[in-house]
Structures are given as structure tokens and as C-alpha cells.
């Protein structure tokens, strides 16, 4: 998928991945790739600035977690992040239904 096309949806996709369970950057990227069947194989570095911005906006929260001798920054969705994700999912469903209706 074109990186530009994905750009506008990256925030929502990342929040959707984290909504399931808290995760660190690498795991988020892998999960995004897995759930999209490899379609969303974006440059991995682009995810970190987005994670930081979403945290600054209060949509994510993060903490250092030590596991297996490694310190990792783990992100989880905040309450306002959950609300924003629900909004985005609603908007996307309405949009994709409309596009489907036109295409079919």
C-alpha cells in the first residue's frame, strides 16, 4: 500500500493495535503487518514519532517495562484514546460503506 495513503490512517491503526493489549514499538509494527497480511509494511521508523505524538496528545500512555533483562517502552491506550478510536472506527465504517455502495 502507498505510504501516503496509509499516512492519514496510521494514528487510528496504531491505536487499534494497542487497544487489544499494551505493546512496545516493535510489537506494534509486527502486529500491524500481521493483521494487514503484510500490506501495511511501512518504514518501521515512521511509527515512533507517531507514538510520541499520540502520547503528547494524551491518547496513549507509556511506561518502561523490564522483561527478559530488556527495558522496553510499552504503550497503552488512554481513556480519551479509546474514545478517539471509537470515533475513528465509526467514521471509517461510514466512509467505507459509502465507497462500497458506489463501487458496487
Amino acid at each position: 500500500m502507498q505510504a501516503e495513503a496509509l499516512k492519514g490512517h496510521l494514528d487510528g491503526l496504531i491505536m487499534a493495535v494497542i487497544a487489544g493489549e499494551p505493546a512496545h514499538g516493535y510489537a506494534i509494527i509486527q502486529e500491524l503487518k500481521r493483521r494487514s497480511g503484510g500490506t501495511f509494511a511501512l518504514p518501521e521508523g515512521t511509527v515512533y514519532p507517531v507514538l510520541h505524538r499520540l502520547e503528547r496528545a494524551g491518547l496513549l500512555a507509556s511506561t518502561w517495562v523490564t522483561a527478559g533483562g530488556r527495558r522496553r517502552r510499552v504503550y497503552r491506550l488512554s481513556a480519551s484514546g479509546r474514545r478517539r478510536l471509537a470515533e475513528r472506527q465509526r467514521d471509517w465504517r461510514a466512509f467505507s460503506h459509502a465507497v462500497d455502495a458506489v463501487f458496487s
Binding site: 512496545h24 521508523g45 522496553r72
Partner: protein
């Protein structure tokens, strides 16, 4: 040199240092430990990605913080002037402790708040208009920071001027009135200073995204009549004319039309001069 070392240098180059720099490096090091062949992209691009988003959110936050501080400082300024009005004091302008200082302070106390108001409102307007943008073009972020800095600087100059005016004309002011002026100046100044670190933090990160800055017509949107859009000097002349007519009308209502007209013309000239000197700096016009 390792990827993390290169990234450290690039982060410092774009102004990301200290705790945030260490956190980014630790996250990227952990990522590379999970997958040494990870496609993170060139270190300079990654650093710019962080800087563009961080600089954008910092410049927006600084604009909102300055606007909030200016609102509170505006209340303090109003209280000082209402107090002078309530005390019914006629300040003999020629009888200051030091005429040049008093004149300068008086001119600043009248002119600087107008500049602070215009710059602060325009900064907040642009920050609000672009509140959903993850990253702004560097030129746009620069305009935001300039407006914020100008607003805070002019606000601080106003507060200092209020205190200096109170000191210069102290023999003609009662003790409570002096205290009120000093307190208002101190509170207003403190509030503005509290907003300054956000503006300084915004200047430290170098946004690099390309793109043209927008102008005052984008900021004001439908408030500007169609005939004036894209014609900045005509717009400035129209604003100056409105200011002139409004102040003259106020003078007529106060039974002092000559004084009103004089002040109206002076303010209109100040509007045009401000537009000529600061128009490009504050992103009001492109040329």
C-alpha cells in the same frame, strides 16, 4: 558508527536532547535488538520525523499558552486602568520624575498592548486552525513561534511600562493606586513569564518539513470580504480605516471630536506602519 550513534547525532542536530533523546535512543536500540535488520530508514530522516512532529506540537502549545497568559495579563492591565479611572486622577503628563522615560513608558503602555493583542490572537488563530496537523512546514512553525514571541515580548513590555508610569507619576497617585498599578504589573508580568518557557522550548526544536506558510487571509477565513482576499495592502488599509473611524466616533461620543480624530489618524498610521515593518515577520503577507 552504529545506527543508534548516528541517530544520536542527528537528534542533537535537530534540537532533541536530554531525556527525550535518551528515550528515543533506548526505544530504537530495543527495536534493533529485536530485529537487527529492521528497516528504520536513514537516521537523519527519522530524527527529522521526530523534530517535525515535536516542533509542531510545541509551537502550537506555546501559542495557546501565550494566549491564555495574555488574557490574564489583559485583565490585570484593565484593572490598573479602571483603578486610575475610578480614582479620577488627571495625570499631569509634563510633571514626571523623568520626562523621556515617562514618555517612552506611556507610549509603550498604549502601543505595546495592541501589538500583543494582535500577535497573540493571530498566533492562537493559526494554532487552532492547524490543530489537527501532525507536522507543519518549517516556515509555518516559524511564523507561529514569531507571533507567540512577539505577543509575549509586547505583553511584558506593557506590564513594565505600567509599573514605570506608576513610578514616574507617583507623587500624583495615592498609595492604594500606586500599589494597585504595581501589583497588576507584577501579576501580569509573572503570568507572561510563566508562558515563556513553552515558547523557548518551541524554538529549540528545528522543524524541517518543506512547504509555504499561509497568510492572514487563511487565518481570518470568511471574516475577510472576498474583494480583499489576496490583497494584503488593501486589507491593511481597510483595517486602518476601520480603526480610524472607530476611534474618531468614540471621540465624538465623548464630546472631543478633534482629539478623537487625532488619535484615530495616529492609530491608523500605526496599523499601516506595523503592517509594513512586521507584516512578513508575523506571516501576515508573503511579500
Amino acid at each position: 558508527m552504529s545506527y543508534v550513534d548516528e541517530l544520536a547525532g542527528e537528534l542533537r542536530r535537530v534540537g532533541i536532547r536530554g531525556r527525550l533523546e535518551r528515550r528515543i535512543l533506548a526505544e530504537i536500540a530495543d527495536h534493533l535488538a529485536s530485529d537487527p535488520a529492521a528497516a528504520l530508514g536513514p537516521p537523519d530522516e527519522l530524527a527529522r520525523g521526530f523534530a517535525d512532529e515535536l516542533g509542531t506540537s510545541r509551537s502550537r502549545r506555546a501559542a495557546f499558552a501565550a494566549f491564555g497568559a495574555l488574557t490574564l495579563a489583559g485583565v490585570a492591565y484593565t484593572i490598573a486602568f479602571v483603578a486610575i479611572s475610578v480614582a479620577n486622577v488627571r495625570i499631569p503628563l509634563l510633571d514626571a520624575r523623568s520626562r523621556p522615560i515617562a514618555d517612552l513608558a506611556f507610549a509603550t503602555a498604549v502601543g505595546a498592548p495592541q501589538l500583543a493583542f494582535v500577535a497573540g490572537v493571530l498566533a492562537a488563530l493559526r494554532a487552532f486552525r492547524r490543530r489537527r496537523d501532525a507536522s507543519l512546514p518549517a516556515a509555518e512553525a516559524r511564523v507561529l513561534v514569531r507571533r507567540t514571541g512577539t505577543a509575549l515580548g509586547a505583553g511584558l513590555a506593557t506590564m513594565a511600562a505600567v509599573a514605570v508610569v506608576a513610578y514616574e507619576y507617583a507623587p500624583h497617585l495615592s498609595a492604594w493606586l500606586q500599589s494597585t498599578c504595581y501589583a497588576c504589573a507584577a501579576i501580569g508580568g509573572a503570568v507572561l513569564l510563566a508562558a515563556a518557557p513553552a515558547a523557548v522550548a518551541a524554538t529549540r526544536v528545528h522543524v524541517t518539513a518543506s512547504g509555504e506558510p499561509t497568510d492572514v487571509f487563511a487565518d481570518l477565513g470568511p471574516l475577510v470580504p472576498l474583494q480583499l482576499r489576496g490583497r494584503p495592502w488593501t486589507f491593511a488599509a481597510a483595517v486602518a480605516a476601520i480603526v480610524c473611524v472607530t476611534i474618531t466616533a468614540a471621540g465624538i461620543l465623548q464630546s472631543d471630536p478633534f482629539d478623537g480624530a487625532m488619535r484615530g489618524v495616529l492609530d491608523a498610521v500605526a496599523v499601516l506602519a506595523g503592517f509594513a515593518v512586521l507584516g512578513r515577520f508575523l506571516g501576515l503577507r508573503r511579500r
